[in-house]
């Protein structure tokens, strides 16, 4: 007898540890580096039956015009180390480390992820990211060694090598009678992995068997052609950028077509876009709170700092509540490498500044008001818990997404609201689990065996 399984929503939290979205100045904001902040958060999410807790990665402290950027929360732990500590403090939640394939050694990273997977008893995940950023490379042995157009080639070979290392031990590697066995492991049960291309070169023998979930769950976040292909070939979950219905549906259709080309079943990949959610008791209160969040995120100094990157000069003498600077920007184009500017804005700043000036004049916007409009966006999900639950239930029933990776604006408060108020509404609608049925991250995601 076949049974139609009710689609259910999967939730994760993406804790970036940097950037302007976190309201660090709010007295309710938990200390950024304290292990207790992370433990309390992971346990809160376990109470909310979340699939996963993610840590971001950034291998160089952000800078603005040659100085460490001082307005945003900054300073974070090594992701795998921190997640190993959380593995010891939690029971169920998946633990996902963002790690890039450019500035890591494949066998070293695969080994550390495998250790996290075993110590957590099958709850580890790897959010695969790439970079070609030579500025970040200044912290590493080989600097900016990887050409931009080969970064996904490296990533693909890296991931395939990691998978080979994770599969290096036969499932029946343990000798039948260990007491009198001739050797610790069954002879021939452990395979050495060799790679010898110009992008991935090593010989390594894996030092651990598979975990309860087979191997770490693979997440992929890139939205470029290379990123989508990597996801279609290897990812179990995509951490996508599309939250509006139409682009999200188009993205899902594109990915499923790619899956088919790689002989993968359409249900072998979960799509979890990053999203922020603002809840209120009434629709009006939620809207008001969302506007407050944006105002708090774009403080006066942040607004000036944001425009300084485009003007290329010190604007600290300007009043953020006054009009845009009347001086002309420097000729130099933007440097997107420093972690605070998106790569799409590598060129064309003059035209952009002209548009901003026209808009500020037309709408009578101050520096800060304009910055709120152009440097932040309205959170995609704003409403009462019931309203947001209705929207999310529709998303998941129509398979637009499989869930969300929440980006909290205030830790832990924004997530306490989700766990205590939104989760019960989702459960009432039958689109969210009422208990963990499994123990591994793969099971939480309702993915088949690796």
């Amino acid at each position: 007898m076949s049974r139609i399984q009710q689609r259910r929503l999967h939730l994760g939290v993406f804790f970036t540890g940097v950037g302007p979205q976190t309201l660090w100045a709010d007295p309710r904001s938990a200390p950024q580096m304290a292990i207790e902040t992370f433990v309390d958060l992971a346990r809160l999410l376990e109470r909310g039956l979340f699939d996963a807790f993610f840590l971001g990665e950034g291998l160089r402290v952000r800078e603005n015009r040659g100085r460490v950027h001082d307005l945003d929360v900054a300073g974070r732990p090594d992701a795998i180390t921190q997640l190993a500590a959380l593995a010891g403090a939690t029971e169920r939640i998946g633990l996902v480390a963002t790690q890039n394939t450019t500035y890591n050694y494949p066998a070293d990273l695969a080994r550390r992820l495998a250790a996290l997977d075993l110590l957590s008893d099958g709850r580890a995940g790897w959010n695969i990211v790439t970079t070609d950023n030579a500025w970040t490379g200044e912290n590493f042995r080989h600097g900016g060694w990887l050409p931009h157009d080969r970064r996904y080639e490296r990533a693909t070979q890296f991931v395939e090598a990691a998978k080979a290392l994770w599969a290096g031990w036969e499932p029946d590697w343990e000798p039948a009678d260990e007491g009198r066995a001739k050797s610790w492991s069954r002879p021939g049960a452990i395979e050495t992995v060799e790679r010898g291309t110009d992008l991935v070169e090593f010989t390594a023998t894996p030092t651990v068997p598979a975990s309860r979930q087979g191997r770490p769950v693979l997440f992929q976040a890139g939205d470029s052609e290379g990123g989508r292909e990597l996801a279609a070939r290897h990812a179990d979950v995509v951490f996508s950028a599309h939250t509006a219905v139409e682009p999200a549906a188009a993205y899902a259709a594109d990915l499923r077509a790619r899956l088919a080309r790689h002989d993968r079943a359409p249900d072998s990949l979960r799509i979890l876009p990053g999203a922020s959610v603002v809840l209120g008791d009434t629709p009006a209160e939620a809207e008001e709170k969302a506007a407050w969040v944006r105002r708090e995120q774009v403080t006066g100094p942040r607004a000036l700092s944001y425009f300084e990157q485009y003007w290329g000069t010190d604007l600290s003498a300007y009043d953020p509540d006054g009009p845009l600077p009347d001086i002309e920007p420097t000729d130099a184009e933007l440097d997107p490498s420093r972690g605070t500017i998106s790569i799409e804005r590598r060129t064309g700043k003059r035209a952009l500044i002209d548009r901003w000036r026209q808009r500020a004049a037309a709408e009578n916007l101050s520096i800060r008001e304009l910055a709120i409009e152009v440097s932040s966006s309205r959170p995609p999900f704003v409403g009462t818990p019931g309203q947001v639950a209705d929207v999310w239930a529709r998303y998941v029933r129509e398979r637009v997404v499989d869930g969300f990776n929440l980006l909290p604006y205030l830790v832990p408060q924004a997530l306490t609201d989700v766990v205590e108020r939104l989760v019960p509404e989702l459960q009432d609608r039958g689109v969210y689990r009422t208990e963990y049925e499994g123990t591994t991250l793969r099971e939480h995601l309702e993915l088949g065996p690796a």
């Binding site: 660090w24 100045a25 580096m33 292990i35 291998l59 160089r60 402290v61 100085r67 460490v68 950027h69 001082d70 307005l71 929360v73 900054a74 300073g75 974070r76 732990p77 090594d78 795998i80 180390t81 921190q82 190993a84 500590a85 959380l86 593995a87 010891g88 403090a89 890591n104 050694y105 066998a107 070293d108 080994r111 250790a115 996290l116 075993l118 110590l119 957590s120 008893d121 200044e138 912290n139 590493f140 042995r141 600097g143 590697w173 343990e174 260990e178 001739k182 050797s183 610790w184 492991s185 452990i190 070169e201 090593f202 010989t203 390594a204 023998t205 030092t207 651990v208 100094p301 942040r302």
Partner: protein, 348 residues
Amino acid sequence: MTPSPRLSLAVELDGDGAHPAAWRHSGRPPGAVLGGAAVRAAVHGAEQAGFVLATFADSPVPPSSGLDAAGRLEAGTRAAFVATTTSRIGLAPTLQVATTEPFHLATQLAALDHATHGRGGWVVGTANDPAAAATIGATPLAPADLDRETRDVVDTARALWDSWEDDAVIKDVATGRYLDPDRVHHVDAVGARFTVRGPLITPRPPQGQLVVLADARLGLGGLADVSLVRADLAAADSPLRFVEVEVVLDAEEPAVDRLAALDADTVWEPSGALRHVGSADALVTLLRELAGVVDGVRFHPAVQAVDLPILADRVLPALAALRRSPGRTLRESLGLPRPVNRFAASVR
């Protein structure tokens, strides 16, 4: 007269024990060692016993290429796994200088120190044989190059741990500044084989600098906090000197018989460490003698399941007046001061 406490007692907790055949005498399947429960049980046992430090041996290659253990969890993750379930014992994984990225290594150790509120240490690993080097697609470094690389990596890690001053995070709501950029520094470390710009992505570790433990033969001198010496009790010019002591203790069977049985499976080749094969009482006597000579001892129990409980029940209690008690941080436990930040000292 009661002697003042002066001996720091550390224990190495890798695998089933220091003897290569320990796994045959542990009463559990080989794979049991590769999970969180085993790591937790060993470290919690050591903390209960009163050790000030647990170390975790490691290598990028399997611990044995023959009949013995082929499995091992990466040491940094093992140490971090027990960060929140322990509160007094120091945790020092072995991380490698030649087969890792210095920046990652420094970040991982800083994160361990934060997660433990200042109980992190680092045993400097110098794996450099062909198999180890091949894990990063390299060939072994010549001895002089390895020495240089070791100094460079330790020096770079230390510079990175100082790259954020203690008071760099200011959270000044009035000006909107989260940190003071004048107190977060590029380090511009220049090694023979690499450079690192910095700063670290992680704020300064609670201890300022993690406790660095290194084999005395590496000759790190003051770059290490603790030199690990062998039976020759070689001189070392780091602040502290610990002697490595392998132990096989009388249990249900006499220690000599236990060692013979273990060696019948795989011979425990001498490593140069002191090796005590005998009673707990005789070990206590040995340690009393060592107390005037070295600052600490790192035990290598032959079979963890057998020898660790005897150390806990018979040896450490007998040394109550002689051994140092765990403090809040590992530095405090060992009597090491919290280092001044090199950038704070030079700038102000």
